[in-house]
Symmetry: C2
Subunit: 386 residues, 2 copies
């Protein structure tokens, strides 16, 4: 994996770059659609490609349970299994495991947990996660970290940071000891934890940077803290991370969150918002969020979003989409998902162009003002997720 930083904005910390894996080029800033179980829900791989996405996220924990790592390994890895020609990053699934609260137990060695599907017992260590990811074959392997609850007291977060650093070291050593199985390179990314505590965040980032990983992620954000806090923590961390490595803000966020985080030096994003909200009938458009289950769209024959260029946006009306949602037709989920991902992909490509031509800050502020002004639903995106 190679990352070339092409341009850094003069007024903000925004960056334009090019990430190159054995499965192709990804222009950054980049948004990765979420394909937890080796499928971006309701989309054919060729439809994901059409949105402009070139890297998708999958989840090692979920795939370990279903269909099982042996099956994906035997299939030749995730790309072949899911017929995805672009790149893939797998999250370790640590975040999902920690959400299991009473089904898991963490020690310095690893984490014991019970499957959310059938209650069967399992045990993950940093080494085990690397082995799973060797089987699955993503281009980028996220290491196992510890992500404490957002309301944890300082000492808990401190312990999690120490463990995250120790586990990162163990994961890096295990990467060295093992080999890719599917004929292409796999790069590890380390994850900065530390909650909302500047000292912990900076120390964690500094320690991880010494391990000279291919890239760095910021974890443990978008877990309930105010947006401004999230932006500030991001800013602290990107100040420590090396310029020549890609930075990935995990699980973030709304269109506004993406732009504010790009301004603070983030290169990569993933989030369930465009896909999950699509399945609830919510569209992200240049005119704000629209709820297709609202009866007022049933005789609106304008395009879904005439300023987003995608097959879904350019070929179907709000009236048709409202009909599909009203009749519980699967195609409604598909079209809304296609549109929302295309909207996110266009957003990061627009941001990239503005970074390259020097107008990013002005454009970002105008976009956010218009987007918030035009928002037709009054529903906070976070409210939909909760």
């Amino acid at each position: 994996m190679h990352f070339a930083l092409q341009h850094t904005d003069k007024n903000t910390k925004a960056r334009a770059g090019l990430l190159v894996t054995d499965h192709g080029e990804i222009r950054t800033p980049a948004f990765m659609p979420v394909g937890t179980l080796a499928t971006v829900k309701s989309l054919l791989p060729r439809d994901v490609w059409d949105t402009g996405a070139r890297m998708c996220l999958a989840n090692a924990y979920h795939l370990y349970l279903r269909p099982g790592t042996a099956i994906v390994r035997e299939a030749g890895g995730l790309h072949k299994f899911a017929n995805w020609a672009g790149s893939i990053l797998t999250d370790s699934g640590g975040y999902q495991i920690y959400s299991l609260s009473d089904l898991r137990k963490i020690t310095d060695d690893g984490v014991k947990f019970k499957s959310h599907l059938d209650g069967s017992p399992h045990y993950f260590t940093p080494e085990k996660v690397i082995e799973i990811e060797r089987d699955l074959g993503p281009d980028i392997m996220m290491v196992l970290d510890e992500c404490p609850a957002s309301n944890s007291e300082y000492s808990i977060v401190e312990t999690a940071v120490n463990r995250t650093i120790d586990w990162a070291q163990r994961a890096m050593e295990h990467v060295e000891k093992t080999q890719p199985l599917h004929g292409y390179a796999q790069a590890p990314f380390l994850i900065v934890q530390g909650g909302v505590h500047r000292g912990l965040r900076e120390r964690c980032a500094e320690q991880l940077v010494r391990m000279n990983s291919s890239g760095y992620a910021i974890g443990g954000l978008a877990v309930g803290e105010p947006n401004e806090v999230m932006y500030e923590v991001t800013n602290w961390v990107t100040d420590v991370l090396p310029a020549e490595k890609p930075r990935y803000l995990m699980g973030v966020g709304t269109p506004v969150d993406l732009l504010e985080s790009i301004a603070r030096g983030v290169d990569m994003f993933d989030c369930v918002l465009p896909t999950r909200n699509a399945r609830n009938g919510q569209l992200f458009t240049s005119g704000g969020k629209l709820n297709m289950r609202n009866a007022k769209w049933r005789n609106d024959f304008s395009l879904i979003d005439d300023s987003t260029t995608s097959y879904a946006s350019q070929n179907f009306t709000k009236a048709y989409l409202a009909h599909l949602f009203n009749a519980d037709e699967i195609l409604g989920l598909t079209l809304a998902t296609m549109h929302n991902i295309a909207f996110y992909e266009q957003l990061v490509i627009d941001a990239r162009e503005r970074i390259l031509d020097g107008s990013f800050e002005t454009w970002k502020n105008m976009f956010i003002r218009k987007y918030n002004q035009d928002d037709k639903t009054g529903i906070k995106a976070e409210g939909i997720l909760a």
Copy 2:
């Protein structure tokens, strides 16, 4: 609408033809995927096109209830509403209304019924159905007929035949009195009823033929009678129908039913089998039916069906499809639907080529023997539907 009969088989009554509407050419024998609510469930219109289908079926009764005929009219008709570049045939929905048993009442004038959605009262006459179809704008408009239950006694079937003939006459007169609304021609098709009674079927067909419609359908079959009876009734009716008009066997059927009916002179088919069964995990393949919910496919890395040429069949393995069904992923429904329709479309195209080169009968018998032999599920397709 124009129909050109290109070749009739020497050994059977099988025909190859070309149906031309203002939305393009349809080679016959043809299979029309079912898109009841202006969507072939789970498929983008471009994916339907990719299967080879050039005419879809929609349902006037269902669309009249949702989204309502006014909305489809205002959208510019079904083709624009659903963004389908090919041709469309609408069934009247009479069959669906008669299935409402205690929610409907038939007189010589028309049929009163209550919506299956909200119990609201409605009234359809032959004229009203033509008006709905003018609003919806299909290329082919099926007229309102009466389809009695399969176990009805002779006098009930006789009354239904008389009413079907009378209603066909009224519908034809109303077609003359009205105009297409969307800038292209619409052709009426009349429907032959008569249950399993040869005299009634022949009289009904003779009377309808005198009305000189653009095409003729055979209704009231595949409602529970044995396959051999269905084939025989079809044979009686196609003996009466004029050679120069297309014949459409409504709601039929399995791959074997299609071939046996093509051999008896049928040109057009529609059926929910490939789409509905796909959503239950059942694939129609050249090696018989396969149930993707069966655990044995989870580590079978062969293609879905290497003898069907479609995006779904050529790019995804049984293991991946089994994973999607096991994890209740929407993409499983989409891929199975794409494959099954492509399989049906390839079947009728293969039949057409064999009719043109004179080898239809031999090929048909071989196909049926192999298909029945290789059937892996032991589930009758009809059993899945019931």
